[in-house]
Symmetry: C2
Subunit: 217 residues, 2 copies
Amino acid sequence: MSKLRFRISMSLDGYVAGPNQSIKEPLGVGGERLHDWVVSLAEWRASHGKSGGETNTSSAVFAESYANLGATIMGRNMFGGHPGPWDAKSPWQGWWGKNPPFHHPVFVLTHHPREPLTLEGGTTFNFVTTGIEDALDQARKAAGAKDVALAGGAKVAQQYLAAGLVDEMEINLAPILLGGGERLFERVGDDLHGLELVRTVATPKVVHIKLERRKGS
Amino acid sequence: MSKLRFRISMSLDGYVAGPNQSIKEPLGVGGERLHDWVVSLAEWRASHGKSGGETNTSSAVFAESYANLGATIMGRNMFGGHPGPWDAKSPWQGWWGKNPPFHHPVFVLTHHPREPLTLEGGTTFNFVTTGIEDALDQARKAAGAKDVALAGGAKVAQQYLAAGLVDEMEINLAPILLGGGERLFERVGDDLHGLELVRTVATPKVVHIKLERRKGS
């Protein structure tokens, strides 16, 4: 069965977004510092149509995290737009323009039903109102032999972690403090549900900490 | 000038002690799991008069963290005993018995004056009521050419971190969740005061993350 894989950048004080998130600063004040390590990579820049950048030991980790993915799950807040029912006349189309970088089906958890939204490049946003387990079932069917990415945000990730549904987790630990904002590890209890440390890769900018579900658990 | 060095074991969710700390469970419920990596080391066992144990890549990190220390600073809660003024008849002597494992002067931050307490093996507990900076001055004088260890607990460490007085920090990140308790990175703001990631060492049980103050800052 395809794995549910979660990767996220987190500060030393545990935040995955800074304080005061807004449309202008979706990652909160100072939150972009979480991604300093990735936006400097040539591989990331190429995937976003930019030239330049560096190749270092984070490059292989970055490439691996995007390989073999057949579907993505995200929360409504990450998809974006105003909370509440969708605007019937011109519903929010996501942050990513006409050709989003997913190139596979995306399942958006929401309380508000909506028809699927097909954009260019193979990305279709499907809106799921039936909960995290059903979203995972649908995503797995769509992914086929490939894996499913859990994109976030924090609240959706917390639900999947607490339910023991995450098979692989990579924390990109940035050696910074944000001092406030949204923590990843809140409301998830004290059980990692068999996730064990399997690999650590470090550069001066980031420590990649990979956990996988123990075999048989 | 001698460095102020701080090392601590922390869970993936940021706790340095579990919930419901008590005399029976000074590290809180589940808190001993933070130290699974160290109590299995032959080097730690030898330093506590025990035989057996293993030698692995954590052994050198453990040895380094105890080398070249000439004084220790700790908070009143870590020293232990009931809060408030010292019992005049039989004041608390610390957790460590007649021959504590420090073997150098220890400076205990407290609001309650008390004469120094000299025990066996070179350990004298000095009680400092004049604040963290004065305690550091006294500890540096006592340490001479050696460094000063900041032993904790969390609240005292937070004060030194927020004041930018920590020169070196090693976080021993245990791949576990505690789900509650005392977090290290609270009330310290968003400034690491020049501390930068300089080294990462990993085993299946722990990720050692070392930060040092940038030269010139």
